[in-house]
């Protein structure tokens, strides 16, 4: 073993030891000090009640299917609408001027209003027009609210992706005789979309969580279902159960997005 390797092995062992000890101390502190707080007994009973969790968990999972459904039809709509808005805002021809203004106004408005407010206004406002079934469904208008809000963000990310493609790519494509439209479709967009995949992954994760906001206008998704159980059993544990279900989905997804992001950074260098 060389001097260098011996030194590195020593350093490695030292840092593993330090990390282990400090983690143990942190856990010990939590274990010792949290139960010493005056309200711990009550909190333990009302938030971490194993029986309540067992009883409500299957129903929470059922309700989560509603989240997944809303997510599943909203996400593709957001991708399409977001891309269209990004393209509209990038359009150069004078005939597209109204679209460009509209696109800018759209992103300003829907990024400027809290999601929950948009959900309220659209979710209560439009069915209030007295539309016949199924056009008064809160599932429909709640989804529409999410789609509008998220499209605004997603459009801005697509736009930054389009800007991130070097202008020399455009010059090269134009010099071959391609039209502006062909340049965008065949050369710029494929690169732009690939550049923003990690950022869009993060939007998907955020959307997945924000589906719960629809509970305010009616749909019995997981957050609403947990609320029903809370009232029924006078216990907060169902909320913890709901949080666990979310985490099972979002932690791997977040890790994956981080991995994509890191890989892209490596490729850029």
């Amino acid at each position: 073993m060389t001097r260098r390797q011996m030194y590195e092995r020593h350093q490695r062992r030292k840092s593993i030891t330090i990390a282990t000890v400090s983690t143990a101390v942190a856990i010990l502190c939590l274990y010792v000090f949290v139960p010493m707080t005056p309200g711990w007994d009550k909190v333990q009973k009302s938030f971490f009640n194993w029986e309540v969790l067992q009883k409500t968990f299957p129903k929470l999972l059922d309700a989560f299917v509603v989240n997944i459904m809303i997510f599943a039809w909203s996400a593709p709509a957001i991708a399409v609408l977001g891309l269209l808005i990004a393209l509209a805002r990038n359009a150069k021809s004078p005939a597209m001027f109204p679209l460009r203004i509209l696109g800018a106004a759209f992103t300003d408005v829907f990024r400027g209003v809290p999601v929950v407010l948009t959900v309220y206004l659209i979710g209560f406002g439009i069915p209030g027009l007295g539309l016949p079934r199924p056009w008064n469904s809160p599932y429909l208008w709640g989804s529409v609210a999410l789609i509008l809000t998220y499209s605004a963000y997603v459009a801005e990310i697509f736009r930054s992706g389009i800007d991130s493609v070097h202008h020399s790519q455009r010059a090269a494509a134009l010099s071959l005789g391609l039209s502006e439209r062909q340049v965008m479709r065949d050369v710029i967009l494929p690169q732009a979309v690939r550049n923003v995949v990690p950022s869009q992954m993060n939007m998907l994760i955020a959307l997945q969580k924000d589906v719960s906001l629809l509970s305010f206008i009616g749909p019995v998704e997981i957050f609403r279902q947990a609320g029903v159980f809370k009232s029924l059993l006078a216990n907060f544990t169902p909320y913890v159960g709901a949080a666990i279900i979310f985490l099972v989905i979002t932690i791997p997804a977040t890790r994956y997005a981080d991995y994509l992001m890191a890989r892209q950074m490596r490729e850029r260098r």
């Binding site: 090269a172 134009l174 010099s175 071959l176 005789g177 039209s179």
Partner: protein
């Protein structure tokens, strides 16, 4: 004989600065014209103007006698007739070399893969790239990428080729393989305009050398005249530095 490409009084401003300040140039069919001069002299901008990537303020560009610089002309039809290769290759990174070269014939002419593939593959073979066709740009060396960029331009069967310092970004040992491609093109009778810092190449291959400074052609002539008997002090000074 009518020139293949004729530039008359080309004037181009970036803001207040005249990048091209009244450039006249005749390029005859099959000629190789080299534009030399320090960076910022207007060489690259002139090439970009010819390909209508930059609009000109004043002057005329005639291709086969047709004015292609008329404001409002459809630039696509012009660019399809003029090939251009850039310093930084600018291959499309998300396509294989072959797809890079087939994109424009497919889109501009509306041909199918089947119609053009054999012809484009033949181009790759001609320039020693047959075994690189299926690779992506980032799997190729700089010299290979630049040769693919040339093939991509040739796939549109251009009447004139413009080369904008195409060896400037290459490692010295890769310059030769790209210059060889230019010599092949010259022997095939391609009309070419090059902005270049490769004085050896200009001397060997050019039919005409133009020295540009301050947006003007200060001196032009056959390579011997420029390299051996430059008249202008500025040309002499530039060559003294460039050939040192």
């Amino acid at each position: 004989m009518k020139p293949k490409l004729q530039l008359k009084n080309i004037t181009k401003y970036f803001g207040e600065t005249a990048v091209c300040n009244g450039i006249d140039l005749d390029v005859h069919d099959g000629q190789t014209v080299c534009l030399i001069g320090a960076s910022g002299g207007g060489k690259s901008t002139l090439l970009r103007c010819i390909n209508l990537l930059e609009p000109i303020e004043d002057g005329e560009i005639l291709l086969d006698g047709d004015d292609i610089s008329v404001p409002g002309i459809d630039p696509q039809s012009v660019r399809a007739r003029i090939g251009m290769v850039f310093q930084s290759y600018n291959l499309f990174p998300h396509m294989t070399a072959l797809d890079n070269a087939m994109l424009a014939p497919k889109r501009v002419w509306g041909k199918s893969n089947k119609d053009i593939q054999a012809e484009v593959e033949h181009l790759f073979e001609t320039f020693g790239l047959a075994d690189r066709m299926r690779q992506y740009p980032d799997q190729l060396s700089g010299g290979q990428q630049q040769r693919v960029a040339i093939v991509r331009a040739l796939a549109m069967q251009p009447e004139v080729m413009l080369f904008d310092e195409i060896t400037s970004a290459l490692d010295p040992q890769l310059v030769g393989e790209v210059l060889d491609v230019l010599l092949t093109l010259k022997s095939q009778g391609m009309t070419m305009v090059l902005a270049t810092h490769e004085m050896g190449f200009a001397r060997q291959a050019a039919d005409k050398v133009c020295f540009l400074q301050g947006g003007k052609i200060l001196e032009e002539g056959p390579p011997e005249a420029i390299f051996e008997h430059a008249q202008e002090p500025a040309t002499q000074a530039f060559l003294a530095r460039a050939l040192k």
